[in-house]
Amino acid sequence: MKNARRLSQILFLALFLFLFIQTEYKGSNELGLPVRFFLDFDPLIALSVLLATHAARALFLFSIVTVVVSVLFGRVFCGWVCPLGTLNTFAGWFKMRSMKPGEDDTVFRRWRPVKYYVLFFLLVAAAFGWNAAGFVDPISMTIRSLAVGWNPAVNKIVRSFFEFTYAADLPWVSPGLDAVYSAMIGTALAFEQPVFRQSILIGLLFAGVIGLNALAPRFWCRYLCPLGALLGLLGWKQALARVDVDGGKCVSCRRCNLSCQGDATPFPAGRWASRECLACWNCADVCPVQAVSIHPTTRATGDGNVDLTRRWLLASGLGALVAVPAMSVGAHRTRPNPELIRPPGALPEQAFVRTCVKCGECMKVCLTNGLQPTLGQAGLEGLWTPLLVPRLGYCEYNCNLCSQVCPTGAIRAIDLKEKHRIRIGLATIDRDRCIPWALGVNCIVCEEHCPVPGKAIRFEEEERENRRGETFTLKRPVVNPRLCVGCGICENKCPVVDLPAIRVSSINETRSEENRLVL
């Protein structure tokens, strides 16, 4: 059974990474299958969005598969499928191998209930309108951490190597390696080096989650994961694959416990905790006397499940009840934030924050690297939701990729025709910095790049004389708010690079009733 499970884990992780890499523009407007696929099967995401928004999406139907499998077999998703679980299996392997009999009774066993309280907190918070599940949902967290944190790091390392060999210009070696590099760009590597705000922070948090395996194998899965808690509760009474330990045969070697991925205590006999069991079934493999069997039965084969205390449940519920209103107090709710330029198709702000699960897929897929995680711009409740930073990357006029990958519809599915009608903000010119306005020298890079047919930037023209006494036409740009869609390419390409002379703010965004410039 062990080999089958390992194979399954490796295949699903490979699929996950493959889809992750595929979540990038590959030459066609339609993306095919993005890594969202994994989120589609995630019932925690479905449930929290449902609670927070009272709106179901057809795609949530996929998560029913996971629910059914869990009800019948327990946490097989954790043991066989989850990409974070697999990473934890690998990372926890060293710890697991080094443990001696007795060390399986880990001091962390008391932490097993924590994940249920985390889950409870998230569900109560969602019911009152704060969709926080995405911060700690394993799939969402993994996609975000890889997209924003690790993908840039890996790219940087690999690219630096090849760029070094390219610049070194060695005969034979450099051209050969450069051919390899060219083939990797856009396939294994991102098309361009990704750059994200907070990438170190988000990357390190994930490294911390993986690092917890040094304390106990699969620490995250055992003690913290809210999806694991949900699946454990669903599969608690599962009858199709229960672990059954024959106390008569058991020789108390504790090998089952030492190899147990979930701290589900198959030893001592009768103490198996169904909610904790990750269905790795290592116990049956390692038992030297075949005392452990996995078989369908409705008989209670173990009573090791931890009790959740009313006090802690109450505490986490109350915590959520305090957190939700606390989250909503803040400048971000008082008036629209000019920096908060949301991707085209984003729902109105409140609905958006409630629906977005911060998976970062839109940031991963964004052609120009313009979509970045928020820090304070949307308040703590909207932490790590996407905003467009035109200085880093603009919104490509004929692109709607982010709306294709969004798992929850926080960014609605929009076609290009509709996209062209959506304003995400408005460009305004800073006449004190704009080269023609301030210096009397022509420029108009903004107008050149403005993608709106008919141009949202026109000129005020004036005949001028230059220093040599020749007359020339000075063209000073003016934005037409009716045509400007706020794509930000003008800000991105403006030669005044530090603080561009033309800047987009969120005013005039189609999705808002109040954030409007004129009546």
């Binding site: 523009y25 030459g27 066609s28 760029e163 390219y166 610049a167 060219s182 760009i185 856009g186 098309f191 361009e192 052609l367 120009t368 490509e396 006029y397 004929n398 692109c399 080269i435 020298v441 022509n442 420029c443 108009i444 890079v445 107008e447 050149e448 790049h449 993608p451 709106v452 047919p453 008919g454 141009k455 000129f459 020339f472 063209k475 390409k493 403006c494 030669p495 690079v497």
Partner: protein, 307 residues
């Protein structure tokens, strides 16, 4: 000495305004260019237009020798379909590639430093597919391949230049005729901005002098102007069919100034019918000896091909 070393060596001299007679590089930068044949061919089949125009100016064999690495520089700047006239017609590019390979080129590279996402521009302009079908390589311009180079111009002294273009034996410039908000028109000289990187947006502040500098530096071996569909307003990227006109024409010459002077005449709509000499970059290019704006002065061919 390959083209790159060559360019590096001459850049210093060019700065002083001294154009040395240099053998072995077909270059329009000499007074003889005034007599260079100029061809304008009209007809329904873009491929035939290119073939005939090149034939009339001497045939590809006179520009490309066997074993040459040829860099073809179309305009792929924008994420627009060919019908909108913002990018060079893919059939034109394809035919130029074929002609170069037929003339014995060892390798043909087609690339541009695009303004929109390069992958989208290459794909949606149709140029990637067409050029590859003809046997060219179409690499995306990657940051590491831009090398600081002495340009030795009046406005552009030193700039990041795409290494493959420096390394090539020949550059064939294949612009499309378009309106431009600042210079009125964008033709062959402005098209060379696609070979440089860095903060090239700053060049707009001295656009006329900058593009003449680039032209003097890159010395395209041959210029083929695509006027199959031209963009007469809201250039250089347009975005609607309304702004594009069908002219079914291709022009070719080794003299970029002739090409651009003629180009202004077909874009009269875009600039209220100014005369070629009224464009500062044409005037300056002429003054600096890059060619002549008198496109009818030398050998002038105008032909219409039947469908």
């Amino acid at each position: 000495m390959n083209r790159r070393d060559f360019l590096r060596t001459v850049a210093g001299g060019a700065a002083a305004g001294a154009f040395l007679p240099l053998d072995g590089f077909a270059s329009p930068l000499f007074p003889e260019a005034a007599a260079a044949p100029f061809a304008v061919v009209t007809g329904p089949d873009p491929a035939a237009l290119v073939r005939r125009a090149v034939e009339l100016v001497g045939g590809m064999d006179s520009f490309v020798s066997s074993g040459d690495v040829v860099f073809v520089k179309p305009n792929i700047s924008w994420d627009r379909p060919p019908a909108q006239g913002a990018t060079t017609n893919p059939l034109v590019v394809e035919t130029v590639v074929r002609l170069a390979l037929e003339a014995g080129a060892k390798r043909v590279v087609v690339a541009d430093n695009t303004c929109n996402d390069a992958r989208r521009c290459y794909a949606h302009s149709g140029i990637k597919e067409a050029a590859e079908a003809a046997g060219a390589k179409t690499p995306f311009m990657e940051a590491r391949k831009f090398v600081k180079t002495q340009i030795g111009g009046k406005a552009v002294r030193e700039w990041e230049v795409y290494r493959d273009a420096l390394d090539a034996d020949r550059i064939i410039n294949v612009p499309v005729a378009k309106h431009h908000g600042l210079s009125g028109v964008t033709l062959s000289m402005k098209n060379l901005m696609g070979l440089v990187g860095g903060a090239r947006n700053r060049m707009h502040q001295k656009l006329d002098t900058s593009i003449v500098d680039l032209c003097a530096f890159f010395r395209p071996t041959l210029t083929i102007l695509d006027a199959v569909r031209i963009l007469t307003a809201h250039g250089p990227q347009g975005g609607t069919l309304k702004d594009a006109r069908t002219l079914d024409t291709v022009a070719a010459c080794i003299d970029p100034v002739k090409i651009d002077a003629w180009g202004t005449t077909i874009l009269a709509e875009a600039h209220d019918g100014r005369a070629p000499e009224e464009f500062a970059f044409i005037r300056e290019a002429e003054e600096r000896g890059l060619g002549t704006s008198d496109f009818r002065g030398g050998e002038f061919h105008e032909e219409t091909l039947a469908g």
